[in-house]
């Protein structure tokens, strides 16, 4: 499933797999910049949890709280995030994968996306919110993310919504929140070792 630079795959599969395993199992005991970034990630997770509960109807919706939590995430994204990943800080107990330092531009772009979508969510906080989502669209073009009116009305996955933060700012806050979630996921797919 993962897009990976297969030139380095042999290293990942050999010693790298062992490294990832030991990194994952030795989660505690972080110090310095590794602990700092773990704490920042944890704080963003808490913000995501608070946002998720409000946007999924599990907690009362409060636009000011949405702006506060989205702002907290935006402040932790971009350079504030990438600066916490200096070279040679990938050893255990860090869960960072070496791909971070192999593709710094891509890593940075995702960190910047995080800011853009968090700010779009903040801007969308007062927009009307829809009820339960409509059913998924049903043709190949829509399923391939081709957009079009049917896909837009279906409104299900983030991939169909489009990624323009300015447009997201005018849409229901759920749209920007899904793009924000997708950005977290895209980064963790590629740059974080999973635990057992």
């Amino acid at each position: 499933m993962n897009r990976i630079n297969f030139v380095l795959a042999a290293a990942v599969v050999g010693a790298g797999a062992m490294l990832a395993v030991s990194a994952a199992s030795a989660h505690g005991g972080a110090t310095g910049v590794v602990k700092e970034r773990m704490d920042q990630m944890k704080a963003m997770g808490e913000s995501m949890k608070t946002l998720s509960r409000m946007l999924q109807g599990q907690a009362p919706y409060d636009a000011a709280s949405v702006r506060r939590e989205a702002g907290a995430i935006a402040a932790r994204g971009g350079a504030a995030l990438t600066d916490l990943f200096p070279e040679d800080t990938g050893d255990p107990p860090s869960e960072a994968l070496p791909s971070i330092w192999r593709e710094p531009q891509r890593f940075r772009r995702l960190a910047d996306d995080l800011v853009a979508y968090a700010e779009a969510l903040s801007a969308a906080a007062d927009n009307p919110r829809p009820g339960p989502m409509a059913s998924a669209p049903a043709d190949m073009a829509a399923m391939m993310g081709g957009g079009g009116p049917q896909a837009m009305m279906g409104g299900a996955p983030g991939a169909m919504i489009g990624g323009d933060p300015a447009a997201l700012a005018t849409m229901p806050p759920q749209a920007a929140f899904q793009r924000l979630t997708d950005t977290c996921g895209a980064c963790h797919d590629r740059y974080r070792a999973e635990k057992d």
Binding site: M1, N2, I4, V13, A17, M140, M143, M144, G185
Partner: protein, 293 residues
């Protein structure tokens, strides 16, 4: 070189097996398929990961025109072009060719596919599923390219070895519902064990890449890209605090109840796959995973 000898012997055995007509085959496909529904097929194509895996979205590739390489300990697998292009894709195929590929893992010429293509799960697709998928694939615009091929380590680069693999690990079968279980449970079992092919990553594989069915969905340290894959057995999921509601919600959004997100490739599975499913299907997946027995 010396340590390769047993491997060469294995390859020789495999080549011998290949000579035995029908060994490791998959049985015949029907002469006729039902009328396909392209809408239902498109939905199945999302569920089955066709679109996610065979599209190099990150590099702006055309839909289904070939995916990004998947690194494994066997080497690098490159999902090929499956658009309607007649030379580079599957535009010259018949529905029976398509069925044979999906449910038996064989090319129209009869060559075996590598099990990175999860035909060992797609074998559970019904005739109607195959017809629906084919109807959807017929609507895909032809695109060139996407045939760069795999880059595998020896001995896995010897395609004849796949006859041995098939003899050991592949059994063609259709999905059969369990009448003692609920409709949702059966739908979930079909998705998880069939088109959703969860076990392709979440069930550990042995030395030769066969899935260890005694450890169905038990996770492992050897997922795509050499990453750790968590267990998703009922016991493991419950130990992590999942219930049907939270699991179904996470399969839609990619976000876990604690504010963390899926990573390690599962984020992509959600974005390219489960996010597109109906709520009922996500609930069905969760129902089966949490109460498989």
């Amino acid at each position: 070189m010396r340590r390769r000898l047993p491997v060469l012997a294995l390859a020789a055995v495999a080549a011998g097996l290949a000579a035995v007509a029908g060994f490791g085959g998959g049985g015949a496909e029907p002469d006729r398929f039902p009328e396909g529904d392209a809408g239902r097929g498109a939905y199945l194509a999302r569920m089955a990961g066709c679109i996610g895996c065979h599209t190099d979205a990150a590099n702006g590739g055309k839909p289904l025109a070939g995916g990004a390489a998947i690194a494994t300990r066997f080497g690098s697998f490159v999902p090929p072009n499956i658009t309607q292009h007649r030379r580079d894709g599957i535009g010259a195929w018949s529905v029976a060719d398509f069925a044979r590929a999906l449910r038996q893992g064989r090319s129209p010429e009869g060559a075996p596919y590598y099990p990175a293509f999860p035909y060992a799960m797609y074998t559970r697709l019904s005739d109607q599923d195959v017809a629906d998928l084919w109807a959807a694939f017929r609507t895909v615009a032809p695109a060139e390219g996407g045939r760069s091929g795999n880059d595998l380590r020896f001995p896995f680069s010897v395609r004849q070895g796949l006859y041995l693999w098939r003899a050991l690990y592949f059994e063609p079968e259709r999905f059969v519902p369990d009448p003692t279980r609920s409709e949702a449970w059966n739908r979930g079992a079909y998705i998880v064990r069939g088109p959703g092919h969860c076990g392709a990553c979440h069930t550990p594989r042995g030395v030769l890449g066969g899935r260890d069915q005694e450890r169905f969905l038990a996770g492992g340290k050897d997922g795509p890209g050499g990453k750790t894959v968590p267990a998703i057995t009922a016991a493991a999921l419950r130990a992590e605090g999942w219930d049907a509601g939270s699991l179904a919600a996470a399969l839609r959004s990619g976000l876990k109840p604690d504010g963390d997100v899926f990573g390690g490739g599962m984020g992509e599975v959600v974005r390219e796959g489960t996010a597109w499913l109906t709520d009922a299907d996500r609930q069905a997946i969760a129902t089966f995973l949490l109460e498989p027995d």
